[in-house]
Amino acid sequence: MRNKQILLVLSAAVILAGAMYTPAQTVPPKQEEGKLIAVLKSADATRKDKHDACRQLALIGTKAAVPVLASLLGDEEMSHMARYALEPIPDPAVDAALREALGTVKGKPLVGVIGSVGVRADAGAVPQVAGMLKNSDPLVAQAAARALGGIGTPEAVKALEGALPGTSGDMKLCICEGLLRAAEGFVAAGKNPDAVAIYDRLRKLDDPHQVRSGGVRGAILARGPAGVALINEYIKSSDYILFSAAIRASSEMPGEAVTKALADGMKGLSTDHQLVVLGTLAVRRDATAMPQIAEAAASGDKAVRLAAMKAMPAIGDASAAPILLDLLNDSDRDIANAAQENLAAMEGPKVDAAVLAMLDSGQTARQLKGLEMIERRRMTNVTAALMKATADDDEAVRSAAIRLLGSTAGADEFPVLVKLLLNAESASEIRSAEQALSGVCSRQAQPAAGGLVIHKAVYGAADGRSADVTAKVAELVKSGQLSITASNANFGDPAEGTVKQLTVDYTAGGVRQTATVAEGETLTPAAAVTPKPLLDQLVAALDKAQTPQKAALLRVLRSTKTPQALDAVRSAARGEGAIADEAVSMLCDWPTAEALPDVLKMAQTATDERVKVLALRGAIRMIPLQNISEQDKLAGLKKLLPMVQRNQDKQLLLGALGNIASADALAMIMSYMDDPATKNEACFAAVAVAERIAETDKAAVTEAMQTVIKTTTNQALTRRARQVLNKARN
């Protein structure tokens, strides 16, 4: 019956408290306060009920709840939860209740009450709390010291200062903590002189070291600009505690005066102390320190020189550039390397200008360093300077400049690059020009419609809620859209409330690939095509080129993967000599399926055994790239079987079969399982196919995976096979 009465006065939340889940942090209605007070007064309420009532009162309690909560402060079981409710109630009645409790409660509850008085910063409690500084219970005395600091009135400080002499250990630390807290309060209130007085006293103590550190920091910061004098003093200190505290405090003070104190004060310090100061100067990022940093970098202790150089990119001032440039040629390799690293990391147009000036130095080593810097810094707008360098007397400079043009030049510079290739005098220059031309072709390529096949498109969430949107994506592509936005507007919403993804499996330019974008992003599944004018220039140059240059031009053309390039390579393959050999190799290694007819023909008719092998391998690779059905791909591979005799060719064939999701392909793979030379590849290929057809060809997959598990020694593959097996059996 009594339990029933309690239930009547509990709020819904309190009713549910106990063994059942209760989202008790939900703020109860304010009118529930009376009921919660009743719970606390009830003799029958459990400890859990009362804890919950206190927790709720912490959120809605008012002055009305203070008496009953105050009555619990001396109760060891409930004292904490009473304070839990009282501390956040914004009513002076709470302070009065806590003050009264200071005189009545004992032991641990008293420690808690003192703590709450400190949190609420009740100045009226200072006399009582101050009286507890000498309490025989160390926990009470220490709590009193900290609380007085939180209250932070002059009276509280006076009590703390009076108690400090003669203390040691934890009590001394707590009194110091109180004083530091009070000083922070003074600073917050703009009473800096009062704070300085405290900090000055603490920094002169013999211990604890952390209090001395705190004293130094506070003494510097509370003085404002005048604190620089203390930095000047402590930077010379041999006492590491004082030195490091001052340097750390300086990092909290803006202004050139502080920077100057650090930069000027650094000279003559020990190596370790100089390293600390240099690190601090780096973090300050104040360029007024550059002269001193430059001086430190120029000579002296190596560790200091390295630290000084390291500070330069952090500061980021262009005046560091010539200093680092000079150090590039330092006789000490570590110094020279550090100069290079830090120069590469520096930002800004002035640094760029300094790097470009290196190209005009007339000194080969410096020019090469400059070119390296251009690349590492990924500098733009350097084409003119690089073009100029391509005419340098030194081959290494010319070659490096030509190569770099590949990452900076545009269509306008393309004719010059072609000419540079045609006129190249060394293998190095030819290689550089080839790289440059390929680079420009790649960067100038634009997405183009056509030749795009959408195999599969899925829009949905990671949890599996998704929709097959293949037809929709294909429709959008057909309508001329090169970029598809992953959006509910395009594909509906298969997974409300979550961020979805669009995954598209497609073939573009003969290359099959998969791309995924998140909802709201766009996907461009079109092949990038090199502009025709550039291709025309390459083809036209073939006629004028000598053999090495012609081979390089063909390789550039191959990199574009375009039909026009394929035609040019085919034409060259029909010729004779080294160029024809090179062109045949390129056809066999063509990145798209467009060259399949050529390689099939060569595989069957070539008289040169090397060409036959290359062509066969090219055909095995290209057949799966075609935009045809899986069965047709399999048929194409089957036609090659009479020619597949070498183990390496068999392994390549198995790799190709592994991409064909059909039971027939799996059966063909399994026929290679008994041959020690091919069983490993066969196992991998079988699992790859089985993973894709496990739900449609269960019997074949089951049998195949059992064989794989018996055959392979690869543990990861065995795990995959078991997973597929389970899938096929379910």
Binding site: G115, D170, Y240, V304, G497
Partner: protein
């Protein structure tokens, strides 16, 4: 590196300062790096508090560092302390690691310890950090590093009060993929950033439990000191599930699914948008149980959206600007980007960031370096506090089931006394800072 010896070794300093006075490391920067070997006298002496599973993970990062010597472990659970000792002793090939049961005693006695690794449960992170720093130690504190705004502020004040080095376990601030994304945002390469997205844990809820698990007999105090385990939290009867990790999801011990990963992802997002010394000011309630989809807004107008999905790994972030976006999460081989060309600058961006900030791509190394240099590490006390303030305010938004506004300067909600009631919780005696 220099062959010069430091002018005053840390241990030499100890001798001059008195054997009972703990002192910070004395910047043996010239010593470190000399063939990678560091004499024992120059190593940073470490102790651990609450080394559990997460702590063992941290130990595996810390112990291989040549300038670290781990000497003691303190834990109210004997078995956990013993397991940590085993890891440490195995590494050093001796039995020297000492065990402690009582944190105040541990900190008071081991004046030789320079720095502390704290990997307790969430309820103890702030108090352990405060106690350690007050005892003169630098500290690496795991996350979520405070339970309330008031606790976070107390950590900040203590670190600054005593000039201690504080690093929160927000490791992604020191990982290449995340640093790249942060730099892409900071450097303007994404244009004007308008939205960032922060991953929150896909388990648990924003609503937290307040029930007590059924009471079980208290184990012997030397096995599990239940009072110490609870620390500053409200008392409740013992149940072994708590100490085995079942404390998560309970209001007294946990900061919800938002804090679980938000402690990482909010920090990353805030650093990326230059808001690491402030917190979000607007929090828009979403009517679900997790906060998924909550939009928060910073003073600069940038939105941060809380999301449970959208990444292929844990603790993901995504930054969206007018000229592109980047995203990454744990396990990404490289960040996702709106334009593949962005990745060509990966090494340069990360390298430049390291050069500019003098920070390595190793969170623990960054902490160790800062112990010596006395600089602030990447996840210093303020980065921790302000990102956790956003976590706390987001939780309060969910608990009140309405929008809230937060003032990160006053560290109070705006004209919202009901929300202010959540800013602090009275600590249980004697576990009071």
């Amino acid at each position: 590196m220099s062959e010069n010896k430091p002018t005053l070794s840390r241990r030499a300093f100890l001798r001059t300062a008195g054997a009972l006075v703990a002192a910070p490391a004395i910047v043996p920067a010239t010593v470190f790096g000399r063939d990678g070997k560091v004499p024992p006298s120059e190593r940073i002496i470490f102790g651990g508090i609450g080394i559990g599973n997460r702590g063992t993970h941290d130990l595996n990062w810390m112990l291989p560092e040549p300038d670290v010597q781990f000497v003691a472990v303190c834990d109210p659970q004997r078995a956990r302390a013993a397991a940590a000792k085993n890891v440490i002793d195995t590494r050093y090939g001796n039995k020297d690691c000492k065990l402690y049961h009582n944190t105040p005693q541990f900190l008071a006695e081991r004046t030789d310890i320079d720095a502390v690794l704290s990997t307790t449960g969430d309820r103890w992170h702030a108090l352990a950090a405060i106690m350690a720093m007050r005892a003169g130690k630098d500290i690496f504190s795991e996350k979520p590093s405070c339970m309330t705004v008031a606790e976070g502020r107390a950590v900040v004040e203590t670190a600054q009060r005593y000039g201690r080095v504080y690093q929160a376990g927000m490791q992604r601030l020191s990982e290449g993929n995340f640093a790249f994304c942060d730099e892409m945002a900071r450097s303007g390469r994404l244009g004007r950033i308008h939205t960032v997205r922060a991953h929150i844990a896909p388990w648990d809820a924003a609503e937290l439990r307040h029930d007590w698990l059924p009471a079980e007999p208290l184990p012997p105090k030397e096995e599990v000191d239940w009072d110490a385990w609870l620390g500053p939290c409200p008392w409740r009867p013992y149940n072994a599930a708590y100490v085995r990790g079942g404390w998560r999801g309970h209001y007294d011990f946990h900061t919800s699914c938002i804090g679980e990963w938000g402690a990482h992802t909010f920090a990353s997002c805030q650093v990326a948008i230059g808001c690491e010394r402030t917190a979000a000011v607007e929090y828009h309630y979403v009517n679900n149980d997790s906060g998924d989809g909550m939009v928060t807004v910073f003073e600069n107008g940038i939105k941060m959206v809380l999301q449970r999905e959208g990444w292929r790994g844990s603790c993901g972030v995504r930054y969206e600007g007018t000229e592109g976006w980047v995203a990454c999460a744990d396990g990404y081989s490289q960040p996702d980007v709106s334009n593949p060309a962005m990745l060509s600058d990966f090494k340069k961006l990360v390298g430049d960031y390291m050069a500019r900030t003098q920070r390595p791509m190793s969170h623990m190394r960054n902490f160790l370096d800062c112990i010596k240099s006395r600089h602030k590490p990447v996840a210093d006390e303020e980065v921790m506090h302000y990102s956790m303030a956003t976590v706390h305010a987001a939780n309060v938004c969910m608990w009140l089931k309405r929008d809230v506004r937060y003032d990160p300067v006053k560290e109070r909600f705006v004209n919202d006394p009901d929300a202010d009631r959540f800013l602090s919780r009275a600590m249980r005696e004697p576990w009071i800072y």
